[in-house]
């Protein structure tokens, strides 16, 4: 069974791979084309003949035999004349050449319309999508800017607070130093003033003592002079 299967496979392979001479030859191609044209013409003729026979049958039904014969005669004459004067069967290439521009134009028009419709619809869709995307981007950008500006403001405020505190601290230090200097000066002045007052008091005391002594001296002198004047007065009175 397996052997037969193998044989079959081999046979298929052999048949498939069997060398085929290059073909078809040009003669064969030409003769095939000629034959195709002949067959095509024959089939055209057959169709035409069928139509004529049908039309004759229709006329026979309605008109009498003699008239029909005349008609057939006339048809025969017409047919013969027609056959003689009829144009040759259409050449496929001529038909193609004649029809191609019109078909191409129509196709182009249809394709253009179709593309325009497609482009219009896609344009509207793309515009909407872009608008939405744009708004979304704007919102996101605004949010990011707000966040960034908030962060920067906070940092600047922190810097400002820090510098103010530093300035206040330095100011306080300077004030304390000034107060200490004032206190030192005060203490120094106080000492100096105390000394001066002490000296002043001592000098005043001495001066007062001297003044007292002078006053006592003056008083003695005065009392001495008074007693001398009284004695003089009395002497004068007594002289008078």
């Amino acid at each position: 069974m397996k052997e037969n299967e193998n044989n079959l496979e081999k046979a298929v392979k052999a048949l498939k791979n069997s060398k085929v001479p290059h073909g078809p030859s040009k003669d064969l191609t030409d003769s095939t084309l000629t034959k195709l044209n002949q067959v095509s013409e024959q089939s055209d003729k057959k169709e035409w003949t069928k139509q004529v026979v049908l039309s004759k049958r229709f006329k026979l039904i309605n008109i009498s035999f003699k008239i029909a014969a005349a008609v057939i005669f006339l048809i025969a004459i017409g047919y013969t004349a027609g056959r003689i004067s009829a144009p040759k069967p259409l050449d496929m290439e001529q038909v193609q050449t004649a029809l191609e521009p019109a078909i191409r134009e129509k196709l182009l028009e249809e394709v253009t319309q179709y593309l325009q419709l497609g482009i219009t619809s896609s344009y509207v869709q793309i515009r909407e999508e872009l608008t939405e995307q744009y708004q979304q981007d704007l919102r996101q950008a605004a949010l990011e800017i707000l966040t960034a500006s908030g962060t920067i403001t906070n940092r600047l405020l922190q810097d400002l607070i820090y510098s103010i505190e530093t300035a206040q601290f330095q100011e306080r230090r300077r004030t304390v130093a000034a107060l200490e200097q004032i206190e030192l000066n005060r203490l120094e002045d106080k000492g100096r003033l105390g000394n001066a007052l002490f000296t002043f008091a001592a000098q005043t005391e001495e001066e007062l003592d001297r003044t007292q002594q002078n006053m006592a001296l003056i008083a003695k002198i005065l009392s001495d002079r008074q007693s001398d004047s009284l004695i003089q007065n009395e002497l004068e009175n007594s002289n008078n």
């Binding site: 069974m1 052997e3 037969n4 299967e5 044989n7 079959l8 081999k10 046979a11 298929v12 052999a14 048949l15 498939k16 791979n17 069997s18 060398k19 085929v20 001479p21 073909g23 078809p24 064969l28 191609t29 003769s31 095939t32 084309l33 034959k35 195709l36 067959v39 095509s40 089939s43 496929m92 290439e93 038909v95 193609q96 029809l99």
Partner: protein, 174 residues
């Protein structure tokens, strides 16, 4: 009606039709007849229906015509005469070449004995590498039916190969 430039069609698909015909028939005269018949048949098909895939149609028609011719040939029992005329040397060593020719000839004989549709399906599948779906479309049958026909064809071919080998063995014994 479809406007077809047969010159272009022959130029494009002529070689495929030729190869299909020659492979099955094995000689130029029969292949040429088959070639012409195929295109005339294709013209008739085009008059009655619109053809989209010329390659597939022409392959199917060529296969059918070639199988018909094979069947006629084998009925007349002229196979050996005609085959001896047509085979081309494939460049292999003579023994192998002869073996392959014999196998191919056997297959041709077996194909000629098959029912037409089975032979068609077998050739389209194994000689022309068509897919099941394509074959089904071309032969106007269901895809499952293609599988069934192919199975039957293989079975029959296998049997015919076994009977041939038995015959040969008995000849050798005698």
């Amino acid at each position: 009606m479809q406007v077809i430039d047969w010159q272009i069609i022959i130029k494009e698909h002529g070689s495929t039709v030729w190869n299909t015909a020659y492979r099955l028939l094995g000689n130029s005269a029969d292949a040429a007849d088959c070639f012409q018949e195929t295109f005339i048949c294709a013209l008739k098909v085009c008059e009655s229906q619109k053809v989209r895939n010329f390659s597939a149609l022409l392959t199917r028609l060529a296969t059918t015509r070639a199988i018909d011719q094979l069947r006629r040939r084998f009925r007349r029992e002229q196979k050996s005469l005609i085959l001896d005329e047509g085979y081309v040397s494939s460049g292999l060593d003579p023994a192998k070449c002869a073996q392959q020719q014999e196998l191919a000839a056997r297959l041709q004989k077996a194909l000629a004995q098959l029912p037409l549709q089975e032979a068609q399906v077998f050739c389209l599948r194994y000689l022309n590498d068509m897919s099941y779906r394509r074959i089904a479309k071309e032969l106007n049958i269901k895809t499952n039916a293609v599988g069934v026909l192919l199975h039957r064809a293989r079975e029959k071919l296998r049997n015919s190969f076994s009977s041939l080998s038995n015959q040969q063995k008995s000849e050798v014994v005698l």
